[in-house]
């Protein structure tokens, strides 16, 4: 198969590839944000239990 023809998408390359790129970005963000949140929550909670332990 011809790769330059494949990327040209019959002259619609810009629209097709931008669509797939936007999808990749949106899907990636929805994985990265919860992972960051997970890390942040674990950190906050460890701190929370440490302070609680010191007080009691």
């Amino acid at each position: 198969m011809n790769w330059s023809e494949f990327f040209a998408m019959g002259g619609y390359g810009f629209y097709v590839w931008t669509s797939y790129a936007v999808a990749a970005v949106v899907l990636a963000f929805n994985v990265l944000l919860p992972l960051r949140r997970r890390k942040a929550v674990h950190k906050t909670l460890r701190e929370f239990y440490r302070l609680k332990g010191e007080r009691s």
Partner: protein, 242 residues
């Protein structure tokens, strides 16, 4: 079944399900991309732009599916006071909003070469834009009220009122004259769409669905820990993961 309605059991169940959902998402996405980009033929009218459909249509389906799930979970939370339903509804909102943004953006990128315009104020596009505003409203309510229970209730009421928009989106192409093409897959009887297009489309739709459940669990797990931080099991879980 009841066993998993407890936050603790659900947290651990979600942890066990996540690797399987991730694997299913990756495999379905790879298969869908291969079928959609290499196997599916160009459309006789729309040429290669038809490949935008493999993103656009599953994203649009998910935008409505997630909304109905979110409103349903909101109703369950309102009626039976189930904490897990509140956490689920809260996790749905940003993911559903993302699918709505994706549907709108890819629709724009498809509309420009085919209709000659990035945007038209027609019934389908306008009702999908309203869906995005509903998601944003739900997220804003959840974020603006400190008490998680009251936040969940307010968001659930807005989500339930907004459900009226879902049939409007679905039937907009039949009720009004629009530029947007009518549904081809869900038409009663035989779908008016060839298998070479339908199979990649359904594969991508399955991939998006698996992806949705994976990222919702990913969002729910830390949210459960936060809501249950006064319990000993969360204290133990957090210490273990350190």
């Amino acid at each position: 079944m009841y066993k998993y309605a407890s936050p603790r059991n659900f947290y651990h169940l979600a942890g066990r399900l996540l690797p399987w959902l991730t694997a299913a998402t990756v495999m379905l996405l790879l298969a869908g991309l291969y079928l959609g980009l290499f196997v599916a033929p160009p459309d006789y009218q729309q040429g290669e732009t038809v490949r935008i459909m493999f993103i656009h249509v599953p994203a649009a389906w998910m935008s409505m599916f997630v909304y109905v799930l979110m409103a349903g979970a909101g109703a369950v939370a309102l009626v039976w006071n189930i904490k897990l339903a509140e956490v689920f509804a809260a996790a749905c909102a940003p993911v559903g909003a993302s699918f709505t943004v994706l549907a709108l953006l890819t629709g724009s990128l498809w509309g420009k070469p085919m209709w000659g315009a990035w945007w038209v104020w027609d019934a389908r596009l306008t009702s999908e834009l309203i869906l995005l505003f509903l998601y944003i409203g739900v997220m804003a309510l959840q974020a603006s009220i400190d008490d998680p229970r009251r936040a969940a209730r307010a968001a659930a009421i807005l989500a339930l009122v907004g459900v009226v928009n879902i049939p409007i989106i679905h039937f907009s192409v039949e009720w009004w004259n629009t530029l947007h093409q009518p549904a081809s897959v869900s038409k009663v009887g035989t779908p008016s769409i060839h298998a070479s297009i339908l199979i990649p489309l359904l594969t991508m739709a399955a991939a998006f669905k698996a992806y949705f459940f994976a990222v919702v669990l990913l969002r729910m797990r830390p949210a459960i820990l936060e809501r249950e931080k006064h319990t000993t099991w969360v204290a133990e879980t957090v210490e273990e993961s350190a």
